[in-house]
Amino acid sequence: MKLKYFAWVRERIGVEEEERDLPAHVNTAGDLIHWLKGEGENYAYALEKADFIRVAADQKHVRHDASIREADVVALFPPMTGG
């Protein structure tokens, strides 16, 4: 699965995107965030306020309880500030 990061989530993790094989127990967007937090200090820092992180699966907003296993690209980012 391709993971993409934006804004300060991107800065803290240190990469714009990466390919990752998800463990079998990662099903929802929330699972993904929780698992990534254990993948290193940079991830733990970027995702420390897990509830705050927004998720898009294949460019559509999804809730933390939505399954993301079928998605090709999942993006994690802070609340948006456009307009």
Binding site: Q59, M80, T81, G82
Partner: protein
């Protein structure tokens, strides 16, 4: 007609509003321009990061909801990304309709949802050329969006 674009070029506000066009039944054109504030001269501007592809798709989705909800004959929305200097437009949204209420509501709805749902992130670009902090999302923007759901 719905026309959405995301660009790194300065926005030609008048041309964007004019691109709505008009026909003999057009009685109302409402428009909104969101500008980059200088915050008392502290900022050179704002750097707007965005999610290419999703940014356009999300604004189009929002505009389509507005067009379904109100009798508007056209909606146009253009949003910048990259460095936007203080005083320059960040976003232009306009709608045309037969009567004024539809155009007013559609433009405000698109702006409110765009603020909370379109994947853009603003960062301060200081006068000395360095970056300041990321702009924090405002709870009043979430409330403005929620208003359209409960109201």
């Amino acid at each position: 007609m719905i026309a959405v674009s995301v660009t790194s070029e300065p926005l030609a506000t008048d041309a964007i509003v004019a691109s709505l066009g008009a026909d003999g039944d057009t009685g109302a054109v409402a428009s909104f321009v969101g500008l980059c504030r200088g915050e008392g001269g502290r900022l050179k501007g704002l750097e707007l990061e965005h999610y290419p592809g999703m940014a356009e798709a999300e604004i189009e989705r929002i505009a389509a909801i507005a067009k379904d909800r109100w009798p508007v004959d056209g909606i146009v929305a253009v949003h910048r990304h990259g460095l936007v200097l203080a005083g320059e437009p960040i976003v232009v949204v306009a709608a045309r309709s037969r009567h004024r209420d539809a155009a007013f509501d559609a433009v405000r709805f698109v702006m409110d949802f765009l603020k909370t749902n379109a994947p853009f992130w603003k960062r301060e670009h200081l006068l000395d050329g360095t970056f300041g902090g990321w702009i924090e999302a405002k709870s009043r923007d979430d409330e403005a969006t929620a208003r359209w759901v409960s109201g």
